[in-house]
């Protein structure tokens, strides 16, 4: 759930989503759900001539499982906070594993 919450903090920021078929789509992050499906607005494809089929498309809904990377703007990520949260979640998970 951590990354779901993390992506929610990035809503309305510009991101670039790289898919597993090498297409990179730049756009404004509009929403994200528990599967990390991503909705982007005002999209542009980085290599338009190579991937012409999205040229007349304005917003997309991308299935989470086809995403390889999400390129984030560095300025909006609080890395210290994220690191803390990740450690806390890992600690919780291992405590649960021990208890179970």
């Amino acid at each position: 759930m951590l990354f779901f919450s993390f992506f929610k903090t990035l809503v309305d920021h510009p991101v670039t989503v790289e898919l597993k078929n090498d297409i990179s789509i730049r756009g404004t992050l509009k929403s994200v759900d528990q599967f990390l499906n991503i909705k982007l607005d005002d999209i542009s494809v980085v290599e338009e001539v190579k991937y012409p089929h999205l040229s007349s498309v304005k917003n997309v809904f991308i299935r989470g499982s086809v995403v390889r990377y999400v390129h984030l703007p560095g300025s909006v990520v609080d890395t210290a906070l994220l690191e803390d949260a990740a450690r806390r979640e890992a600690a919780q998970a291992s405590a649960k594993a021990k208890a179970g």
Binding site: K20, N21, D33, K50, H53, L54, S55, V60
Partner: protein, 134 residues
Amino acid sequence: MFTTAAQLLDLTDKKLLVILRDGRKLIGVLRSWDQFANLVLQDTIERVYAENEKVFASVPRGLYLVRGENVLMLGEIDLDKDDYVPEPYREESTNVVDALHRKEIKEQKDKEKSTRAKLQAFGFEGELAGEVMF
């Protein structure tokens, strides 16, 4: 498995580009859907591209019911830029593009196959694990 209702609600009755797991690109009007992203598309056309030759074709297909698991990506088409395909792409007859497209797909598949074989020699699983590209 795939989506929440709110995400498709605002796309209803809009002209969409739907990209399927097997690489097909369908353009049609979304008339109905459910929580699995099963979709009903009206007046659908399939657009086929041959990227190397820079040609494309549009094939009228009619009404579609797409099973949700096959949907990779949905895009709403900007009606101001409707049917815009960037330079230097030009429209060609379906037969020509289809043949070129098949050839390109085959080349791509062969390439993937050899990449995967090489990766496997090092103990890596291919990213798409035999899944077709789109």
